[in-house]
């Protein structure tokens, strides 16, 4: 290829020169006479060089260069300027130098001219290749940038995926998770609204999780119904990404999109969320501008869909597990609480049981029982009444009642209890300090008497059938005792039998009138358990009470025995001479006082013969008494050893009857004699036995005379019976009278020396009798009752042989 050169030369001669020279040197040349011709030529075809030679036109050089340059604007064409040598100093504008590529002053040789042109072309060529190089470099660098951008976005994706994976690892609930996911997704795709819809495998309702478009920190969760035929719902079926350029055009589904994103949304992309091949839901991204999303954006998000799906499934599983765990925990807690409650109640029952078993006083025990039934912390009834069965009388009797009579009182008590915050434990600890106050309920309860025959009454039925009854409509119930209905105003109450093994001791009646709660199964069950314990405790307390009485009786008997023993010992001691003397001195002082006193009076009133006569009679009586005392003392202290001889007791008795005949008659006493004629003769001291019997029979006569004095029956009705029989080894002599009889105390002391019930008696008569019979190896039995008489039975051994005598 040859280079094309355009030459501008006004001189014709010169034009020929350029034409020939350039042609010879192998250049294609076009020689034009003017700049305007040159511009025309440049417009027609491209030139590799423009040579501007001599100016002939009246336009300036600079304008010429400019117009040429203008035409060659699109592709750079170098310009060579040929100047005149003289113009070198005059008028050459050096400014042109920058606008032209080379200049050649005249005169120049052809050789030089061609060399310059060739140089020009070399430079142009180099420049061209340089520019090409530059272009290539530029192109390459442009490609690099693209790659970097691509890499960057890949890195970004990786970061997002990494973040999402991190989010999966953390166990957070779906709200928090989705908030975090939305922030990450925003790095990949711009949106104004974002939401997910989770499939619910159990129900046709779906779960929408939406980032509030107004406040991005807020997550809205709600249940929605999504139609499979419209809008986002379709993705559930197709499982394909769906791009909607303008939702307004899809009139049918517009509301669906707005529902899941926002009312502002215009373009929407919906991604299926598939985890392990299972569709778990959809991700909705929306923009408020139409046609906002391109395939590139979608591609970016597509890559993170799988981890998003996993993370969401993970989170929803987590939520589900968490909810289940919570539910389980709640159930466990509820169970625990229930168990704890039951345990508390049972431990209370146990405590109360222990407290009850340790309590033996029935009243305190009953109070404890009722307090427990009504104490807030335990069984929780408002009022309780305890009724016990009395089988002997055939009735059920109210024993004790606890609780408020009116709502006002109830309020006061609760107020107090809540202030003191007392539970049953405290009641147990302070049961002694907490006195049983006599309340209206207590009084009402104590007035209740029910006959066991009234078999229709619920209380009686509870006792007879050993059953618990819950009465719901008591006020209209005929089978409820009127006191319970009318005085306690209670419409609902429970009757629980108090059982002790197989026996029904009574019932507990309890209500919840003031707390307004109805009586539930639980409290009835608790009350029943409690009643069983209470029943046992009551039985125990009752048994304890009876035992205490028995023990007390035994104690008394023992004391009595001890006392008797002491008295025996004492009476033995009394027999000693010293005591005897003291007693005798005392016995003698009375008559002596009287004798002295009257003698003294007689001295003062010696003129009054009446008084003297009476006083001397008294003195005589007292002296006689003194003699008698003396005789008795002598009898007692030295009765002498009995002189035993075989004889018949009947004979001795006959003698005595004769001796006392007058006394019997004086008192109009009937004598009944039943002497067995065939009784054996035995050994005895007749004199002593006579004395012993006389003392006894005289006592009988005195006793009858006392009875007559008291007006107990008219004289004549009284009798003394004397009888003799044999019994086993003994001869039995009975002396019976219908006199005043004796008290047990008198009987006990009967044979003690100096014990007497007779005014002026020495108290030695029966002591002597006793001594004599003992010395005969016999004994005396006494049977007596105050008001109906006494019976002395003397046993004498059937002895006929002296060797056996004491």
């Amino acid at each position: 290829m040859t280079e094309a050169i355009l030459v501008v030369e006004s001189n014709e001669y010169e034009r020929k020169f350029f034409h020939n020279t350039l042609a010879i040197h192998g250049f294609t040349a076009e020689i034009v006479p003017s700049v305007s011709d040159a511009v025309e030529q440049l417009k027609i075809k491209p030139f590799d060089l423009v040579i501007i030679s001599h100016f002939v036109e009246n336009i300036s050089l600079s304008d010429s260069i400019l117009s040429v340059r203008k035409v060659c604007d699109s592709s750079y064409v170098p310009i060579m300027l040929i100047t005149d040598s003289d113009s070198d100093h005059n008028g050459f504008d050096h400014n042109y130098i920058t606008d032209v590529d080379d200049y050649l002053p005249r005169p120049f040789s052809v050789k030089m001219f061609i060399a310059r042109i060739r140089a020009m072309f070399r430079i142009a060529h180099l420049e061209k290749s340089l520019s090409y190089c530059h272009l290539t470099v530029e192109e390459k660098s442009k490609n690099g940038e693209k790659k970097i951008t691509k890499t960057r976005s890949q890195v970004k994706q990786m970061l997002v995926i990494n973040k999402i994976l991190n989010i999966i690892a953390a166990d957070i609930n779906i709200d928090v998770l989705f908030g975090a996911l939305a922030r990450e997704i925003r790095k990949l795709i711009a949106f104004d609204a974002i939401s997910i819809i989770l499939k619910n495998s159990y129900q046709d309702v779906q779960r929408l999780v939406l980032i509030d478009p107004e406040d991005n920190s807020r997550v809205i969760t709600k249940n929605i119904y999504l139609l499979a035929s419209k809008g986002p719902g379709r993705v559930f079926l197709t499982r394909q990404i769906m791009l909607v350029g303008n939702v307004r055009k899809d009139m049918d589904s517009q509301i669906e999109y707005e529902q899941v994103l926002s009312t502002q949304v215009k373009s929407v992309v919906i991604f299926p969320l598939i985890s392990k091949g299972k569709l778990i839901g959809i991700l909705n991204v929306g923009s408020n501008k139409p046609k906002s999303y391109r395939k590139g954006d979608i591609r970016l998000v597509k890559k993170v869909l799988s981890p998003i799906a996993s993370s969401i499934e993970n989170a929803s599983l987590y939520s589900e597990v968490k909810a289940l765990t919570e539910q389980l925990q709640q159930t466990v807690n509820e169970r625990n609480k229930e168990i704890e409650n039951k345990y508390y109640q049972l431990s209370l029952l146990n405590k109360v049981g222990n407290a009850m078993q340790g309590m033996h006083e029935l009243d305190r025990l009953l109070h404890l029982i009722l307090t427990c039934v009504t104490a807030g912390g335990a069984i929780g009834f408002n009022r309780a009444m305890l009724l016990l069965v009395n089988h002997e009388k055939g009735i059920v009797k109210g024993m004790m009642g606890v609780g408020p009579a009116t709502a006002e009182e109830a309020g006061r008590i609760w107020d107090k209890l809540s202030k003191e915050n007392w539970r049953l434990d405290d009641f147990l600890a302070h049961i002694d300090e907490y006195p049983s106050q006599k309340s209206a309920v207590d009084e009402i309860t104590r007035s209740i008497r029910l006959s066991l025959d009234n078999e229709s009454d619920f209380v009686i039925r509870s006792i007879m059938e050993k059953k618990t009854f819950l009465i719901n409509d008591a006020l209209y119930e005929k089978r409820v005792h009127p006191i319970i209905k009318e005085k306690l105003h209670t419409n609902e109450f429970v009757i629980v039998p108090l059982l002790a093994r197989d026996k029904v001791l009574g019932v507990i009646i309890a209500d919840k009138l003031f707390s307004g709660k109805s009586i539930d199964k639980d409290s009835i069950q608790l009350l029943t358990m409690f009643a069983n314990q209470a029943g046992l405790a009551i039985e125990r307390a009752d048994a304890y009470e009876k035992l205490t009485v028995k023990i007390e009786e035994l104690k008394e008997a023992y004391e009595e025995l001890k006392d008797t023993q002491n008295k025996l010992v004492r009476s033995e001691r009394l027999a000693t001479i010293g005591k005897m003397a003291a007693h005798v001195a005392h016995e003698i002082r009375n008559p002596l006082t009287t004798i002295g006193g009257f003698a003294h009076a007689m001295m003062k009133f010696s003129h009054d013969m009446e008084k003297v006569k009476r006083n001397s009679k008294i003195i005589y009586e007292e002296v006689y008494r003194l003699e008698r005392i003396l005789q008795n003392v002598l009898d007692f202290t030295k009765p002498g050893s009995p002189v035993f001889e075989l004889g018949c007791i009947n004979e001795v008795i006959d003698e005595i009857i004769n001796f006392l005949q007058d006394d019997f008659e004086n008192c109009n006493i009937t004598l009944r004699k039943e002497l067995h004629l065939d009784i054996p003769r035995i050994l005895f001291d007749a004199q002593q036995i006579r004395q012993a019997f006389i003392n006894l029979i005289k006592n009988s006569i005195y006793s009858i005379s006392e009875a007559i004095k008291c007006g107990n029956g008219s004289s004549g009705n009284h009798l003394i019976e004397l009888s003799t029989t044999t019994e086993n080894e003994y001869l039995k002599i009975k002396i019976l009278d219908t006199g005043v009889g004796m008290t047990p105390t008198v009987i006990e002391n009967l044979f003690n020396p100096f014990f007497t019930t007779k005014p002026g008696g020495s108290g030695l008569g029966l002591a002597v009798t006793h001594k004599i019979i003992e010395e005969h190896g016999g004994f005396i039995d006494v049977i007596s009752k105050v008001g109906s008489g006494s019976e002395f039975i003397i046993y004498l051994p059937l002895r006929t042989d002296l060797s056996g005598t004491p």
Partner: protein, 124 residues
Amino acid sequence: MNERILLIEDDVNQQILYEQELVQEKYQVVLASSAQEALDYLKKQTFDLIILDICMPGKDGIEALSEIMELNNKIPVIINTAYGTYKENFLTWSAEAYVVKSSDLTELKTTIRNVIDRNKAGVD
């Protein structure tokens, strides 16, 4: 006005003796043969003084004394007994005076006067 004395004594002859002597001293005497009889009187009547024997059949004087005290009356009691040793029994200490029986009634009479006067002064 005559002071009223309740004499509790089981021995009939001593009753006669004391009554005779005390009436002479211008006292009004009411006789009781047993503690129970005396307690019955005390429930219905009032006296200025009680003379109480100890050795009596049935309820003895010591028992009677505590029952008289239980009646919570202000009547002074003089114990009059044949037996000096009862003085040592603290149960007799609630009596105003303790006089051992004697045929010479001077001591008893002096004691009666003193006790009645002292009691009157104390009451007034």
